[in-house]
């Protein structure tokens, strides 16, 4: 909506004004009853699933844990009885001190090598921009998506829209998680578009996919 207010958009014949002045429309019968029915059906399915998962949590999981513990005990017991004594068995273990020091050094390395929050955010934004550019470049030249691919792409676009709405909210610091989510969704959309073009025999430049 960038050039909404430009003179160019303000047609001299004022068609925009005439179109905007048209009255709002409403469906001849309410869409709510069907929607409510569909929603109640879905919530019924969800209730059934949640009851089922609750039952699983209450009975099946403890039973499975008990059985697994029993198995582990039996296997260990049999192994202990049948295992031949090995002279150098102790050499396979790592001394606690060595393990601890190696762990600490790894932690120190991670601290030194970990990118800062700002760097992470910049990288995510850059990746997001690259993916979006690629989608725009291929979008106009590529074959239009069809069927399930089109539905999936619309689904992803809706989710990206949701993330964009969240990102547009005023906040003190940019939310890296949201940017992460946006990049993930753009990657999904790119993968979908890329695989569709490949399947359709189209040519897609994969260079920016790997950026």
């Amino acid at each position: 909506m960038s050039d909404r207010n430009r003179q160019l958009n303000r047609a001299p014949w004022d068609l925009a004004e005439a179109l905007r002045a048209l009255p709002l429309q409403a469906p001849d019968h309410s869409a709510w009853p069907e929607l409510a029915e569909k929603l109640s059906l879905e919530s019924g399915v969800q209730d059934h699933e949640s009851k089922r998962s609750a039952r699983i949590r209450r009975f099946v999981v403890p039973a499975a844990l008990a059985a697994a513990l029993a198995c582990v005990f039996l296997v260990a017991y049999h192994a202990r009885d049948s295992r031949p004594p090995v002279a150098g068995a102790a050499t396979a273990t790592v001394s606690p001190l060595a393990a601890s020091s190696s762990l600490n050094s790894a932690k120190v390395d991670n601290v030194h090598n970990a990118p800062s929050r700002a760097e992470q955010l910049a990288a995510l934004q850059q990746r997001s921009q690259a993916l979006e550019s690629w989608l725009q470049e291929t979008g106009s030249a590529a074959m239009p998506l069809q069927g399930q691919d089109l539905a999936a792409a619309t689904e992803i676009e809706n989710l990206i829209g949701l993330v964009d709405v969240e990102l547009s909210a005023p906040r003190e610091l940019p939310d890296a998680n949201l940017w992460q989510r946006r990049v993930a969704l753009l990657e999904d959309l790119s993968a979908l578009r890329y695989s569709y073009q490949l399947a359709a025999g189209g040519r897609v430049t994969a260079a920016s996919m790997t950026n």
Binding site: W13, D14, A26, P27, L35, G139, L162, V165
Partner: protein, 155 residues
């Protein structure tokens, strides 16, 4: 949302389906909305995407030419036409042309944005606005010597 879908698709039943599907998606995903920003923007975007998806599904049947970007600067007949006449004229435009016209003039999208939304080029969007405007002009106020279907129907 219904008006937007109706203007894009030109069919009340399809617009109702769009409203239904969009609302269903909203209810399904409402938990992911954190309430830090305007909710209506997201809602409207979902409805627009649903309508555009249907439009793209039917797009193959329509012409997708990028020509005839003829611009007539003369004052339009819609200035003195009533809402009913303009609505009927709008309904007679091809769905894609009407959608581009609506997105540009009413929803306020730019040509590059519309091109991205409908999966066409920027010049396509421009030509559709010009073509749609010209066609509306002809339908509402037909050139002398021809009889408008609207007038003929009214008579």
């Amino acid at each position: 949302m219904y008006t937007l879908a109706l203007r894009l698709l030109g069919d009340g039943e399809s617009a109702r389906d769009v409203l239904h599907d969009a609302m269903l998606k909203v209810f399904q995903r409402i938990a992911t909305f954190r309430g830090e920003s305007p909710f209506w923007g997201w809602l409207r975007q979902i409805a627009l995407n649903e309508a555009l998806m249907r439009l793209r599904q039917h797009d193959r049947a329509e012409s997708s030419g990028e020509i005839d970007a003829f611009v007539d600067d003369a004052p339009g007949p819609w200035a003195h036409a009533d809402a009913g006449t303009l609505e009927r004229a709008l309904a007679r435009l091809p769905a894609l042309t009407r959608s581009v016209l609506w997105l540009y003039h009413v929803e306020g999208y730019s040509h590059p944005e519309i091109a991205g939304l409908v999966g066409k080029s920027v010049s396509f969007s421009k030509s559709q606005v010009a073509r749609g405007t010209q066609r509306l002009r002809e339908i509402i106020d037909p050139p002398s010597g021809t009889v408008s279907c609207l007038i003929a129907t009214a008579n």
